[in-house]
Symmetry: C2
Amino acid sequence: MAQTLDVIIIGAGSAGLAALREVRKHSENFLLINDGHYGTTCARVGCMPSKALIEAANAYHRRHAFEAFGIRGGGGLSIDPAAVLRRVRALRDDFVAGTLKATDELGERNLAARAKLLAPDTVAAGGREYRARRIIIASGSRPIVPDAWRAFGDRILTSDTLFEQAVLPRRMAVVGLGAIGVEIAQALSRLGVEVTAFGSNPQLAGLSDEAVHQTLAELLQREFSLHTGAAAELSPAADGIELRSGDVRVVVDQVIAAMGRRPNVDGIGLETLGVELDSRGMPPVNPNTLQVGDLPVFLAGDANGRAALLHEAADEGHIAGINASAAEPRCFRRRTPLAIVFADPNVAVVGRRFAELDGETIVVGQVSFARQGRARTAQRNKGLMRLYADRASGRLLGGEMCAPAAEHMVHLLALAIERELTVQDLLRLPFYHPVIEEGMRSALRELSAQLPAGQDSDLASCGGYQAEALD
Amino acid sequence: MAQTLDVIIIGAGSAGLAALREVRKHSENFLLINDGHYGTTCARVGCMPSKALIEAANAYHRRHAFEAFGIRGGGGLSIDPAAVLRRVRALRDDFVAGTLKATDELGERNLAARAKLLAPDTVAAGGREYRARRIIIASGSRPIVPDAWRAFGDRILTSDTLFEQAVLPRRMAVVGLGAIGVEIAQALSRLGVEVTAFGSNPQLAGLSDEAVHQTLAELLQREFSLHTGAAAELSPAADGIELRSGDVRVVVDQVIAAMGRRPNVDGIGLETLGVELDSRGMPPVNPNTLQVGDLPVFLAGDANGRAALLHEAADEGHIAGINASAAEPRCFRRRTPLAIVFADPNVAVVGRRFAELDGETIVVGQVSFARQGRARTAQRNKGLMRLYADRASGRLLGGEMCAPAAEHMVHLLALAIERELTVQDLLRLPFYHPVIEEGMRSALRELSAQLPAGQDSDLASCGGYQAEALD
């Protein structure tokens, strides 16, 4: 066995590369071990190609608003799914190229192999054993596909394979209606595929607020066939795959499995770490340090099964990289929770979810975008936003929504929650006119009306404020 | 002369109606006097119809991205300007109807007449004199049109008349390239009009940062002919109106005057108030109370010539209404400055303008959206954002930009400026992936790198933060 390394990083995805950036600030005596594709899940098969697909689908879908706007000839538009997918892959290749730069220059310190832990300081890979003072496991995740479905071969797709298709079939089923399932089902439907979607969970897209969920379900049902609350079973049919779920029977050409992602830690040797594993086979991980128990081992990104979100994975790699380079692990405060589903209208959850809150201690303010001024001028007046505030303090706690421009508004709401601002603080914002954010202000005002601190103005009194000259 | 009224409000626009709401909380002994149209400038001829026009223009313009997306047949689209304008007016009528509700029910307390001040407590209108304990002047503004242009009759348009047109001519000139001029010039060009635009001010759309201005000018010049830095002169031509500006000569069918707005206070009798008027004929007004000198008179909204912005006018009416109903005027802190021009990409200025800042005491961070990931997937990757922070404290001070989704991002930036947050505070936000806001984060990181407080992480240390359970 060679010299002891400072750090071994297992996985060259978003978390692993974020860790690498930190490790390299302190040491060049590291080894990056990666099994399978380089280029990150996000850039290769996740966030980026899905957004490229969605943007094309939404641009095409917009033709339904054309007649009302005064634009003629929309009926003559058609979509070329092969061209759409070629563009998706071209963009994907460019985004992937960006991530490859980080590993291309590493030479022998980048090992393409499957890693297996032998002990908290030892890793086997490529037929050799490596020792290290610290180990960062950032081995990512993969889509869940039921074993029985494998018999259908390449007629079962996941986000790993969807974007590789040369064309799209006439009929597709999407099974699983979390973030990925909802995004893909809507996009494929807008690209002309006859989509039938199944979610075993009664709630869509990670929502927990029934009112918002209902709004989303109604909007999606106008676009494609949607079935929730029961699992879907597959069987071969003469002209495709038959899916059965409750009373529903449908035959499709391909099925997309969007039933969540599984951490790539099976077979990685977590049992050799000497810490107790939970029922899912996962070790204890401190989310503020990413340390596994009190071992010199860190488990970051999708691999720890916490949240398969790029910005969280990047933070976790960053924290793990800093802590793997330090004498003592530091404790980092995690960011305000934020999840966005890039459906149209956007779906988003920020801060505390409705289901986590005690109905007795909160007030709820809401706004429908059906009559919202700016949304009407843009023909995007669909959706519902619900915000939650603490009844006693007036602090904004969270929100769930299915609303135009939600992907933007939730960043503002996240800042407010992160800074522990009150509803009144937010009402002191300038809300320009006319903007979608004025809808959010309506929800804030509905909250304000239920809060005790009754004020006669959204504006602050001057206090020590210097009066400005008028001119 | 009848009984003394509590309050007279002159003007039933956005400021006057906001004042009315406050006044009515305390008294029903008021009189609203309005000259000309009811329905507010914003709803009738301003923010709302312009946005309806812009949204149609942008939806049509989007066809240029279709081939790249994989959408075929975009060449067969056409625009029906008459239908566009009919939709604008239909939406306008609906928005106007919303504002009319506030005055419809007032009966005799709503007087349609021109008001003239006779003294700080006396107004003449409709052949009568009215006395009041307080007077709120909220008489609005009107577009500036040079007298010499009136000879061209209805071939000279303003935002008051543009939306009334049944159709659009082949060739139009837009003179004045502030917010309204830039919005209208781009929209008309996108609707198929051959637009030539002239701005006597070298800067476009209220920008003061040359780098942002340059980006905007380049983008607009790809769409229509743009000339800045010299006034335009009009003369009759055989087949239209000739405009000359510097070396430029162009003949058009109609000219839109977008040279700013003038307060409707000429002839209203400000000289009877007994306070000194400035060179523009305007009395001293405290922007935090809206009081004129120490008189029982308030001057709110566009009428005071401060800023012709709906959200400011509404605030000013609100403040004037509260103060006209109180024993002593209260001092209100005004909101963080915010101006948005609904061009594509959006133009916006938030907080302190670049020109107001001392280059020695600030740092500048910027991002180009040309290579921004999400913007590329959406084919909206154009623009530049520049942010300014205080070098000593790291506080965000302001920003100027021409960027996709700027109308959304500036609300977040306004909140940060309002709360006196630092660049580091903002970097603690969750930035979801992939969003346009990640471009803003790049600008923030560029700021952060120039600030002294060098930290190795955007994340906060835990401090007293309770570690979360992983599951």
